[in-house]
Symmetry: C2
Subunit: 597 residues, 2 copies
Amino acid sequence: MSSSTTHTAIHAEVNRLKLKLQALEVEDGSEQIYVGQYLLARLEQLGVTSMFGLPGDFNLGFLDLVEDHPTIDWVGNCNELNAAYAADGFGRVKEQSIGVILTTFGVGELSATNGIAGAFSEMVPVLHIAGVPSTAQQKTKPMLHHTLGDGRYDAYMKVAEQFSVAQAYLNNPATAAVEIDHLLTECMTKARPVYLTLPTDIAYDKISSARLKIPLSGIPPPNEPEAEAFVLDKIEQLVKEADGNVVILLDACVVRHHARKETRELVSKTGFPVYAAPMGKTAINESWERFGGIYVGSISHPEIKEKIESAKLILSLGSLKSDYNSGNFTYSIPTARTIELHSSWTKVQFSDFPGIGMKDLLPKLTSRLQAYQSAALKYDVPLFHASVPQEDNDIISQAWFWPTLSKFFRPKDVIVAETGTSNFGILDTPLPDDAILLNQVFWGSIGWSVGSCLGAALAARDRGLGRVVLFVGDGSLQLTAQELSTMIRKDLKPIIFVLNNSGYTIERYIHGETRKYNDITNWKWTSLLETFGDLDGTRSKSYTTNTKEELTNLLDDPEFASASKIQLVEVVMPMHDAPRALKVQAALSGKTNAYTK
Amino acid sequence: MSSSTTHTAIHAEVNRLKLKLQALEVEDGSEQIYVGQYLLARLEQLGVTSMFGLPGDFNLGFLDLVEDHPTIDWVGNCNELNAAYAADGFGRVKEQSIGVILTTFGVGELSATNGIAGAFSEMVPVLHIAGVPSTAQQKTKPMLHHTLGDGRYDAYMKVAEQFSVAQAYLNNPATAAVEIDHLLTECMTKARPVYLTLPTDIAYDKISSARLKIPLSGIPPPNEPEAEAFVLDKIEQLVKEADGNVVILLDACVVRHHARKETRELVSKTGFPVYAAPMGKTAINESWERFGGIYVGSISHPEIKEKIESAKLILSLGSLKSDYNSGNFTYSIPTARTIELHSSWTKVQFSDFPGIGMKDLLPKLTSRLQAYQSAALKYDVPLFHASVPQEDNDIISQAWFWPTLSKFFRPKDVIVAETGTSNFGILDTPLPDDAILLNQVFWGSIGWSVGSCLGAALAARDRGLGRVVLFVGDGSLQLTAQELSTMIRKDLKPIIFVLNNSGYTIERYIHGETRKYNDITNWKWTSLLETFGDLDGTRSKSYTTNTKEELTNLLDDPEFASASKIQLVEVVMPMHDAPRALKVQAALSGKTNAYTK
């Protein structure tokens, strides 16, 4: 019954205990290093290779240490919101690592708030370091610039506390290492943002480096064996009763809590039909013969909806039932037929089992359930596919665009889809093996994708993944456009599709179809890359496509597809067109909100 | 002893009492209007003509009412931080009115946080309206998009509470009008941000319009006469003892609390030498023969410092002693020689007098002190002037640039100076009569000036002021550049000087002079306006000036100076050059922060 997952979990637990012991030991004669260096050493151990943010006069000293660090690259963003989005994108793609953003007191950190809140909501591990005034100034609270004028030096902490699972306000070198270690462990284990204030003086206080010899880990503690065995029995009993009529539904936390591998094992050894919620898309390969597509409650394609909702048992992995991830709460699956596996608890029908986490449970579940494969294979799974519709005009419709793009993708591509039409369009689009899709279905902050794409591209380069492809609407791009500049400086080569449909189309579908407030200023999209730093025009390429033919030709061009420089494609699309899923969602959503009486 | 200021204050007080009574009355048969319309009617009464922000799916219904309103224009920004800055700029220039920003739940409002916090810190009246889920949803707390996933629907309120002096969470139409009125009154009276959540359903609840007949006012209550007389005696006694050796020092709150007119009276009738702190610059006309320039503690020109610090009595009006506004706390003025007038209290030497506000006190003070004019005139005031240095090269130095620009300005120009070199350069630059300077000396958030310039330009157009001139560094502009797009769409015609000195020069002076983290990507600055919406190049003009001669020629060009279209001037300046005041300040500030050990 032992598994490598459990071994790893036990190993991580041993290290956590060692760290607790180490904190109690007296000084040991290890090398003394700056607190700032200790922090960077920990980040390096965790696989952090890029740090996002902006310089500001309370983080400049620490930035010296960052710039001098041999393996952590200071990215230097255009603004802090974009930097937070970039840290989010890095945290999503560089799995088992974390995204890191460094800002300055007040002005800098507050600008990052929405980006950090998004990482909280969507469960992305991000460390936010704010460079703050010295410990002496924190005590006397002078009327420094970036303060509120009333001595409330804790106001920004109160903001950060709303959107982080742990905080460390360093003010004593003696405890700094322990606090940093605790913070980073919380960040990884809970896959959510944590917040660290680093006073200018503390960054340069010297401490022992002894703890660095014991690695940190985000792997959750092993499940309690007796309770786990009980849960396994329960689940097996239900699977047995279902006589193989079981479907698996994958969602956000499979990805966020790094259970892709264990999930793949379960899926392949049991043969249960498998589907994904929008936030679970690309949790496993979509070419898998038993993968049936995307389930979004009543927004799903009818045949997918029927398959899932008629199953005798639903094995739900890592679910997050937000409105846009569940077809506006239209799952039609009774609790009595549902088993939910989460990062740190399990729910079987109506019973909660706290502390029984998915990552450790899955391998044992696979061992138990593989016996049901032959029963499962009696149930067929219609192929998840998209076909390009025959349309009698040359307009680039949403219905034509997404299946056409489906064929453009390659294995290992990293695809970033902005909230809005892109987010919905990508749902019905099958993606190739080992592709990674980034979306922000739950938080839904427009502009996110541009910053996130920057972080994703840096992580993808690190991991040796494929091309990075961004889909963003004209309205959304305007919020965060300047971060294209950082992509150019960092020599990244994403392909950026700008869906130019003259404004906020998703909102037109929700309310105000012809209202001026959903209009935006039209930009010269194809000048953006040159303006933002490709001064001589040699490092980028930009295109406008007005017709199906133009776009098809471009996609077929091997030079374009090779992504050898950063490229931007303006795709001109009709203002009042939208992907199928968006139309249905917007109608539901608009109804709930009841804007007028 | 009566004054028109007191009469206005009493009138305002009467209206406040009427409103209190009205709230207690039963329904009166007045016209029923939507809560959203009531809010807009109040804003119209307060002189609000522009509303900033972005559409989002919890504010679309209210936006219908905004778009249909005859006198309030929906601006529609590129992102919420820029919108908050714009509301700040509007609030600064449209005196006696307020800036207004409308955002959506979570994602929108949080992006505005830094901009709102800046308005709090710098005391600018801004109303932040967040469109939020319906009252029904607020109760059941479903896992809607833009939420945190844990049911904390109050998290964003907790953020807003840190940076606003009053909040109204509308959830009952019966009290909505009273709550709105209270909120707006607080905003105006305290000259600081307030926060309003407007649920989708409440916006369309019907209420009585009766209260609209009683106007709101931001004029503070009249001072208590007996205490006021006591204070006047005290002050007069000290002035008498000083035998005319009195100087007046103007600061931020003269402007923020609309005491320009009363101040002008005091200054002209007493003849006391008058100086301004950086945040009080343009509180009175700088051509006034008794105006001596800018006082910033030990950063001041030595002759100014000497004049002020040797006076027997300092009459300080509306002071805000933050680090950058006071030369890093280097005022050398003993409390025993200081009288401070503030918006709602007075301090005479060591005695505080709560409730004795400046606006009501000033006219009476002028009556008392005009008798000391002849004594005051014995003390000469060296003219505040700037001379263009003779330099033997054609490089555009900071020392040459600012006095050269001084001659370019015209009366009634609105000048916006970004944090960084511009903010310091403008200090030593005399400005013409009725010019208005906007700076953010206390909060100091880079990028602020671009959004603020948009709001300032709209308010300036409203008030019939002159040209709008923005000074922004290349580094700062990158944070918020896209808002130029909104200026183009709104047909505004600012002159934008982009000081291209290859990165964050202010930070190089503080720390990390040659560090890469102070570098930025160089942009094609002269393409920005075309890229951001002047698609055919007819609505804007852009220039690069590399030499003194090029810049001089441009400034002398009447077509350029007429500002008949939006114009951007890239001014190429040396990376390691800075205005005098910045060099001194940065040295002091870097020392306080002690970045390394």
